[in-house]
Each structure stands twice: as structure tokens, then as C-alpha cells.
């Protein structure tokens, strides 16, 4: 199997889906000639032309709203939000429209739209190019929110998202784009939306996370294994709606749970994970649930040392897991 980067997996999934189904098309700011500011759509303009790789005006609400209309017509648009931070002008179209179309029309109209958005920090992006936006949408029935951690998951889940007959927000960790590489089958495959994935089996402490932080957990687990601490790692992959069964099983597995998100702590998707555990397997726990997250300050600053202060790292995870193991 070829080893490719996280962003190459995005591009591959898009390309293959566009080849497979002529109703799939891509739209967004700078996705055409420029191939996207991160180069996620690189080569697509050349292969599929400007009709299916559409540079839109700078207007996110229109990008999503036009995508919804095209999806209602029967196409499968993939709309890129240049940075997840810039989805907010489209919040009304996403929450009031895309999410509620099937429900409000009593199953008559559907919106098979995929919204791709790079999120996350660690790229010197400052307040508005670093945020995690999932919590804002993770209370909206009708939406599905996918946040993969590996190139393999990216490709399988992005294809599944494009083929989904419901709107999917597909968050890609922008720092993972070039940092994370992994084996990815060349051919076609999909992975199920809504299913979490055990990324490492272990017995002492359970870590539940998603996105780039999964890699910090894996690195920390390697280190901790040397000290005889065995870490169980559950990757949510879909953060909304939650895979409750997997969460509960993972929590029960070790009885000690560390929930990790790069988002601000209060009101993050990890709050829901904690609530799920507290509802379903409280008496299986041997330690209070712990959350490791960004501080409750607006977003990470641009200046390097301040950004670092804000970010997760494998060291921070290692410490938190160790504390829990020793509880």
C-alpha cells in the first residue's frame, strides 16, 4: 500500500469520487486554478474543468446555500470552506437549511452536500485560522460531523460523506495535512460514518479523542508502554451524532477515562462524551472522568510561544494519562 499524506488522501478521495460519479462537483474559494489554499483540490481543475471545479465569489453563505440548492436538484456538491473559522457566515444555511431540509419536508427533499473545512491549530494562524468549530454544530440534528485522524480514515470517510444522502461537515485538521502520513489503499473503499475506531488496545487508561490529538495519544501511549502503562485509544472519527456504544465500551474497558480535544474545554464535544459515560457506566469507573482541552480563552494567539501554550502535545497527554493511571 502507498504511504500518502493526510491531504493527499483528501485529494484522492475527491478525484476518485468525481471520476466515479459525474454528479459530484467541487466549489469554494480558490479551489480552481489555485487548487485550494492548502492544495487539497490540486489537479482537479485541470482534470475536470471549470464546470465541476468552481471558484466561487468570496461569500460562504452563498457557497453553502448554492450547494444546498444544487444538492436538492440531485447533484452531490462538495463545498470547501477555506478555513473552518470562516464557516460562521454560513451558519444559518448549515443549521437552518441543510440540517433541517429532510425533516421539514417530511422526507421529500434531501441535501446530499459535503462541507469540507480545515480546522485546528499549530500553524501560526492566530485567532481565526486555528479554531475548532465542531461544538457549534454538534447540537444540530440532521447534520453529521466527521473528523478523521489518519489518511486511511480521511479517504474512506470522505468518500462515504460524498455518497451520504444527508449533509456532512467534514473537518480536516490543517496541521495534519502534511504532518500525518499513512498507508492508504489505492482502490475504492468507504468507512462507515457514525462509527468510532479503536486505534490502540490497552487496559489501564482509556483515551477518547479525534483528529490530530489521536496522534499525540498514540505517541504518549508508546512512551507510557515503556513504564508499563497500557493505554486504550478510541478515535471518535464522527463526533456527531456520537457512537455511544463505542464510547461506553471504551470507558468500561479500563475504568479510567481521559477525554482529549483541541477545542476550548467548556461545551466541547467531550462534554457530551463525558455525559454519555456518566449516564451509562458511572459505576464502572475507577477515577473521575478527566478532560484535557484548550483553555477557555477565545482562540490561540499568533505569537509562537503563546500559541504553544494553548496547544495540545504528546507531552501534555502523557502527563495526563500517567496521572490517571496513578489515580
Amino acid at each position: 500500500m502507498a504511504v500518502i499524506s493526510y491531504i493527499e488522501a483528501v485529494t484522492q478521495a475527491l478525484k476518485e469520487e468525481m471520476e466515479r460519479d459525474e454528479d459530484v462537483f467541487v466549489m469554494g474559494e480558490d479551489v480552481g486554478k489555485r487548487g485550494g489554499v492548502f492544495q487539497a483540490t490540486k489537479g482537479l481543475y485541470e482534470e475536470f474543468g471549470e464546470k465541476r471545479v468552481i471558484d466561487t465569489p468570496l461569500a460562504e453563505s452563498a457557497i453553502v446555500g448554492v450547494g444546498i440548492g444544487a444538492a436538492m436538484y440531485g447533484l452531490r456538491p462538495v463545498a470547501e470552506m477555506q478555513f473552518s473559522d470562516f464557516m460562521l457566515p454560513a451558519a444559518n444555511q448549515i443549521i437552518s437549511e441543510a440540517a433541517k431540509t429532510r425533516y421539514r419536508s417530511n422526507n421529500d427533499w434531501t441535501v446530499p452536500l459535503t462541507i469540507r473545512a480545515p480546522y485546528g491549530g499549530g500553524v501560526h494562524g492566530g485567532l481565526y485560522h486555528s479554531q475548532s468549530m465542531e461544538a457549534i454544530f454538534a447540537n444540530v440534528p440532521g447534520l453529521k460531523i466527521v473528523m478523521p485522524s489518519t489518511p486511511y480514515d480521511v479517504k474512506g470517510l470522505l468518500k462515504a460523506s460524498i455518497r451520504s444522502n444527508d449533509p456532512v461537515i467534514f473537518f480536516e485538521h490543517k496541521r495534519a495535512y502534511r504532518l500525518i502520513k499513512g498507508e492508504v489503499p489505492e482502490g475504492d473503499y468507504t468507512l462507515p460514518i457514525g462509527k468510532a475506531d479503536i486505534k490502540r488496545e490497552g487496559n489501564d487508561v482509556t483515551v477518547i479523542s479525534y483528529g490530530l490529538a489521536v496522534h499525540f495519544a498514540l505517541q504518549a501511549a508508546e512512551k507510557l508502554a515503556e513504564s508499563g502503562i497500557s493505554t486504550h485509544i478510541l478515535d471518535l472519527r464522527t463526533v456527531y451524532p456520537l457512537d455511544r456504544e463505542a464510547v461506553v465500551n471504551a470507558a468500561k474497558k479500563t475504568g479510567k477515562v481521559l477525554l482529549v480535544t483541541e477545542d476550548n474545554k467548556e461545551g466541547s464535544v467531550m462534554s457530551e462524551v463525558a455525559a454519555t459515560i456518566a449516564e451509562n457506566c458511572l459505576f464502572d469507573l475507577d477515577a473521575p472522568i478527566r478532560r484535557l482541552a484548550a483553555p477557555d480563552a477565545p482562540s490561540m494567539p499568533y505569537a509562537a510561544p503563546l500559541e504553544k501554550q494553548f496547544l495540545l502535545s504528546s507531552e501534555k497527554l502523557e502527563q495526563a494519562i500517567r496521572d490517571l493511571a496513578e489515580y
Partner: protein, 331 residues
């Protein structure tokens, strides 16, 4: 009185049909208020005063192919487009059989896939980009259709109006934006809502064709929408049209319009009511005779009675259905 409809290609029967739909809409609308005042339906949103333009517009489009996104006052439009009175009444009684939403949405939130009518929501102007998306998709697929969308003049101040217009303009898409300017956005009149003289003045900023017409005249509406549709088919891109008329009722059954406008103002506007003025036109030309009128009113009353009766007796959706259709359900 000069015959104006022959020049547009309409026979006398055509305009009689047009009028009949306008009248049917009006009588239906009046019935809604009665039903509301007698406690049978909790809410009415009404299109009185806007029927002429709505029906005229529908006549200018292709009912077999075009896509439409009507807004909550468009009873005249949806009736002309093919929704039945019974369906419209089921919608107002919020019953399971309502094709618009099975009682999930408030009345007037139209939706009917069979009729290529997009689902409408309450946050205003969100439908505008949807209509643009339909046009974009049709263009990608090589389908020669027009995408038609309506909205109020207050709503033309929302960001989505601007973004949708510009997108349609840049991609020269076959979209007709029809602003139904009824001079009020709830209580707020034009002066506090808009800083331009005509909403259609905004067309230039999107490089599109713009036109304001007399919204009380169905023939003027027909002509404007026909022109815009012809342009769209010829690849000349979108148009921004504006129907100029007056909202004759309060905003909804929850509103008391006498807190912000006078009866005298409303009475003055009623003189220009399109249903009355078009009837006068047809009478002058001897197309609408007293007999025909009586016959029409009777048929309409009977149909509305039937629809009301049917809708009142129809069951609500099952309570457990509230959990259905959040996502695709596969068996």
C-alpha cells in the same frame, strides 16, 4: 378600455382563467382568517393584495420543467402552479396528508418535490441561494430550465440576497429573483427598510437585468417574468424583478397593524387591489359577465368548503413520527 392581453398572446379564456385563480386565492385566504378567528387554525399568514403578480408570474413559467421557490405569501403562485386547494387547506390545518411538510412547518412554508417546488423555511431569504444552486446544477447538467424565487422587500436587505444575486450574476445563471414589495416588513415601512428607490435598482450591482412593475396587474407581472425567462433561456443570466403592491392584511394573524399604520392608508391601497382592478378590466371588456362571476364564486365556495371539510377531518401525523426523517432511513 384597451385590450392588453391579446398583445401578450392570451385569449379571453386565458385571462379569465388567470382571474379565476386570483379570485380563488383571495377567497381561500379570506376563509383562512375566518377559520383562525373561529379558533379552528392557530395561525394565518396571508397574501391578500399580492395575488395578481403571483398568478401572472406563474403563467410566464414552464410548469413542466421550471423550479420554483415561493415564499410564505405565495398562495396565488402555488395554486397557479398546481397545488390543490385541498392540499393548501391540509397545510393550514397541519395535517399528516399535507404535502408541504405533513404539519411539521407553519402554514405557507411551501414544499412539493413533485411540483419542483423547493422547501421553504422561516428565516427569510435563505431560499435565494437555493434557487441559484438549482440553476447552477441545471447548467452543469445541460438542462434548459429557469429557477424562480420570491421574497419580500424587507428580506432583500439580508446578506443572503446579496450573495445569491452576485453568485447568479457571475455565473450568468437562469434565475429570476422576484421581490414582492408590499411596502411593509411587519411594522416597518419602506423608508426605514430600504435606502434605494426601487429594489430593482440593486440589479446593476449584480450586472443583471432589473425591472419594477405594477404588482396589481397580472399582465404586467406576466410580461416582466416572461421577459426575464426569455433572457434566462437565451443565456443572458439572472434578473431582479420587483412587484410593487401593498399588503392588505396585518402581517399575520398574530399582528395588529393598526399599531403602526392607519386604516385610511389601507383603505386607499384597497382601491388598487389587483383582484378588483383586474375584474374591472375583464368586465369592461365583457369577458367577465355577471353570470360567469356568480358561477365562479359558487364553484370556488364549494371547493373551499370541501377542502376545509376534508382538511378538518383529516388526521394529524402520528405523534411518534416526530422522530422520523432526521436522517435517511434505510430498511
Amino acid at each position: 378600455m384597451q385590450n392588453r392581453h391579446h398583445a401578450l398572446g392570451f385569449s379571453d379564456q386565458d385571462v379569465l382563467n388567470m382571474y379565476e385563480i386570483m379570485l380563488e386565492t383571495r377567497r381561500f385566504d379570506e376563509r383562512l382568517w375566518l377559520l383562525n378567528r373561529s379558533g379552528k387554525i392557530p395561525f394565518v399568514v396571508s397574501g391578500q393584495g399580492q395575488e395578481a403578480a403571483q398568478v401572472g408570474a406563474a403563467f410566464a413559467l414552464n410548469k413542466e420543467k421550471d423550479y420554483v421557490a415561493p415564499y410564505y405569501r405565495d398562495y396565488g403562485f402555488v395554486l397557479a402552479w398546481g397545488m390543490t386547494l385541498r392540499e393548501m387547506m391540509l397545510n393550514n390545518f397541519a395535517k399528516a396528508e399535507d404535502p408541504n411538510s405533513a404539519g411539521r412547518q407553519m402554514p405557507g412554508h411551501f414544499s412539493y418535490r413533485k411540483l419542483r417546488m423547493l422547501t421553504h423555511s422561516s428565516p427569510v431569504t435563505t431560499q435565494n441561494p437555493h434557487a441559484v444552486g438549482v440553476a447552477l446544477a441545471a447548467k452543469l447538467k445541460g438542462d434548459d430550465i429557469v429557477s424562480f424565487v420570491t421574497f419580500g422587500e424587507g428580506s432583500s436587505n439580508q446578506g443572503d440576497f446579496h450573495e445569491a444575486c452576485n453568485f447568479a450574476g457571475v455565473h450568468k445563471l437562469p434565475v429570476i429573483f422576484l421581490c414582492e414589495n408590499n411596502h411593509y416588513a411587519i411594522s416597518v415601512g419602506l423608508k426605514h427598510q430600504l435606502s434605494c428607490e426601487h429594489v430593482s435598482d440593486r440589479a446593476k450591482g449584480y450586472g443583471m437585468f432589473g425591472k419594477t412593475f405594477d404588482g396589481n396587474d397580472p399582465l404586467a407581472a406576466y410580461a416582466a417574468v416572461k421577459e426575464a425567462a426569455d433572457r434566462a433561456h437565451r443565456g443572458e443570466g439572472p434578473s431582479l424583478l420587483e412587484a410593487n403592491f401593498y399588503r392588505l392584511t396585518p402581517h399575520t394573524s398574530d399582528d395588529n397593524d393598526m399599531t403602526y399604520r392607519t386604516k385610511a392608508e389601507v383603505d386607499e391601497a384597497k382601491k388598487h387591489d389587483g383582484v378588483l382592478t383586474f375584474a374591472a378590466y375583464l368586465r369592461e371588456l365583457n369577458i367577465l359577465t355577471a353570470d360567469k362571476e356568480k358561477e365562479m364564486e359558487e364553484r370556488i365556495k364549494k371547493e373551499i368548503d370541501d377542502a376545509t371539510d376534508y382538511a378538518e377531518k383529516a388526521p394529524f401525523a402520528d405523534q411518534d413520527s416526530v422522530l422520523r426523517y432526521v436522517y435517511e432511513e434505510r430498511d
